[in-house]
Amino acid sequence: MRSVREPLETLEIDVVVNRERIRRAVAARRLLSDFLREDLGLTGTHVGCEQGVCGACTILVDGASVRSCIMLAVQADGAEITTIEGITPAIGLNHMQRSFEQHRAVQCGFCTAGILMTLEGVDPSNYPDEKAVRELLSGNLCRCTGYQNIVAAVLEAWSTAPDGPR
């Protein structure tokens, strides 16, 4: 009988984070959110509830939005990760971020990175109206804004894509 690879307490992972390849040894119990914030210093990913409810820690794993506080770093081995740092230009803001600024869609800002990552992970054409956008945003809790300005910012940014109107 061939041997089975034994479960380990520390594992070497190989990931691409914001287009940069990273190889690190991590504890099996290390949350992906903690790996990003504490091991890689990418503190734009916020940790709110740490139980998969609030959405503040939303990132993209292989292009799909996920909650990084309920995923282990070792589960991301081999994956491509994008965080808020990866979608923010070196200077200034991206199209959606500018729309958030213009609409005053940010109050305390704690939830903002997670919301922007949720938006980054979808095809806008699947969310054509306010109702759809509100349902999309239901996975990200904002305690300040009542969502009004966030929804307005999203709808405007998606109707005025940087490369012209859709």
């Binding site: 504890a27 119990r29 139980q51 939303t58 939005s65 309920i70 995923m71 070792v74 996975g139």
Partner: protein
């Protein structure tokens, strides 16, 4: 709010998973999408010493349709099933239910098999499994066995799966000539259901009567519950609003439900009655 110390393995072959399960027994926990397991680990509600991640096991994420049967590998992500035109054509109830499962970020990781194996009382997919008479394929290192959904769910967070078994595949059987729907009430989109109902019906279009009905409630008791009294009441009955309303009341009478922070038992019963009535109106509309 961090997982306890543990060991982790991600085998790419099912036989390795079964070997590890046989070695570590109760100490091991299978990790599918992790959308329920990870919060439980963060809360230290469970303390397995070994996690066996199923995500790399070859073949466990295949999705095939064979006539009216959807054969889903246990590791099919909920988003993949929800977006599949094949799935919505073969077993529309699966897609109707998935719309209510968590949020986008949860469905992107969450799996069909993980949700069924976790068997949360308010989960949607167990109700679908009951209605579509799903067969659960369970494997251990010695053999396969098939457990029907009606024998699979044994109470809150409890299934017929033994500690050395893996749920590898689920076969959902659509019923030709029927219509289905899935309705639920939650405080916000993506919240756990205060009450929900999955419904399937066949309407005899000449007589305008319901010739077959299957109804399952979620969120009101410890496990998905077949609403047999409401089913009996509508079977053979005319497609009339009054019939549907009476079926709703029969459903409310049948369930023994509970009060918690989110809703009282009385409210859950009343809402279940409304949902059953609305679901029947939908599936009986021609």
């Amino acid at each position: 709010m961090k997982p306890p110390p543990l060991k982790y393995a991600r085998p790419d072959d099912l036989s390795d998973v079964l070997t590890l399960l046989a070695q570590h027994g109760d100490e091991a926990k299978l990790l599918a999408g992790g959308q329920s397991l990870m919060p439980m680990l963060n809360f230290r509600l469970i303390r397995p010493s070994v996690l066996i991640d199923l995500s790399a096991v070859s073949g466990m994420d295949s999705l095939t349709v064979d006539g009216g049967t959807l054969i889903a590998g246990a590791m099919v992500r909920q988003t993949s099933a929800k977006q599949s035109h094949e799935v919505s054509a073969a077993t529309p109830l699966v897609v109707q239910a998935l719309r209510h499962v968590g949020h986008l970020q949860i469905r992107n990781r969450g799996t069909i098999g993980g949700s069924l194996a976790h068997a949360a009382p308010a989960a949607e997919l167990p109700a679908v499994a009951l209605i579509l008479d799903a067969e659960m394929v369970l494997r251990n290192s010695r053999a396969d066995r098939i457990v029907h959904a009606s024998d699979f769910f044994r109470g809150p967070f409890t299934t017929a799966t033994t500690p050395d078994e893996v749920l590898t595949e689920i076969r959902f059987h659509n019923v030709a000539g029927t219509r289905t729907t899935f309705l639920e009430l939650a405080r916000r989109a993506g919240d756990f259901a205060l009450a929900g109902v999955a419904a399937l019906a066949r309407v005899d279009s000449d007589a305008r009567t319901i010739s077959e009905a299957r109804l399952v409630a979620i969120g009101v008791s410890g496990e998905p519950m077949r609403l047999s009294e409401a089913e009996a009441l509508v079977t053979g009955a005319p497609c009339m609003r009054e019939t549907f309303r009476e079926a709703g009341m029969a459903a409310a009478r049948q369930v023994t439900t509970f009060t918690d922070l989110h809703a009282t038992a009385e409210y859950r019963k009343e809402m279940l009655a409304v949902l059953v009535s609305r679901a029947l109106s939908e599936v009986a509309a021609q």
